[in-house]
Subunit: 169 residues, 2 copies
Amino acid sequence: MYMQFDEAKNKFIQTWGALGSQWGINKTMAQIHALLMISPDALSMEEIMDELRISRGNTSMNLRSLIDWGIVFKEYKAGERKEFFAAEGNIDELARKIAKERSKREIKPTLRVLKDVSGIDTKDSTKAAHFKAKTEELYDFVSRADNMLEKITEQKENWITKTIFKLMS
Amino acid sequence: MYMQFDEAKNKFIQTWGALGSQWGINKTMAQIHALLMISPDALSMEEIMDELRISRGNTSMNLRSLIDWGIVFKEYKAGERKEFFAAEGNIDELARKIAKERSKREIKPTLRVLKDVSGIDTKDSTKAAHFKAKTEELYDFVSRADNMLEKITEQKENWITKTIFKLMS
DNA sequence: TTAATGTTTCAATAATTTTTGAAACTTTAA
DNA sequence: TTAAAGTTTCAAAAATTATTGAAACATTAA
């Protein structure tokens, strides 16, 4: 009876985990997130451990990361002592937070380095001149892309729809 | 005299490598790409090995991957028997190829799974109904994002500038 | 042909990253 | 207070991923 659902649930969790690791996010972190996303109510650490068959330590550390990213929240239930965890329910908001976080953690530091290294004095070396030109070009590109991402995601509601609409105009 | 350039070059290669691994691309692959990008002319396998201090096997395999991605090309020099390698010189084109390749390798397969799993029959189970709703919502979102990426990058020339212009309108 | 030059493959090894599990720590109820 | 319930930390182990290096393979010049 529930066979089909369990199978689908499992497939979804595995796929989300694999997608995560292809994008530099650890598999367990992505799996916990997947599990919480499809769960109608908040889950305890025990429930997460049991469902994914992972250790308490692993669960604890990855939940902390998810909370740091701002895409999972702690919840408390009346009369219950333990903590429960729930995922950000709004997908637009989820995407916005991920975009913001990756920009902060990866793009911004890269931009800083690009700016630094493109500042060399080229004197009369062809190689250095080429290096300077390329890294400047890269800075410019990455910087624009980062601005674009910011622009796209700063509109709070339904930014994908709005953006596609603009792109078609 | 060239000290400053060498330092900058090294820093750039290391940073590009680190960025690569954060995005699921192997470090060496990203480093080779960085080296070729800033090199005014095509390099031989020997030169790449020496510069990055990596083995022949590693160099060979990662060059093949870069060629598979379509962002590095083989070149032949008159009178020289060996092969030389050069990176895609146009950054817009580079970004387009990366976007296209990641869509094909990661987003499209994920969409297929999302479509599959959201097809379950929910009967009277609340959990299954919630699962179906969430995965459908996710399918919708990812699918729109993928379309958006396609739309943005299908314009060949200077798509970033054009897109930002549209977004500001 | 064959020797020289160059490239690819892949099993073994190394490096890195993830995961475990148990001890330390924290909080709360009694 | 203390014991019970719960959470976090982190060194060690396991799993995964990247890298080496040498043998096999390919191509070309003589």
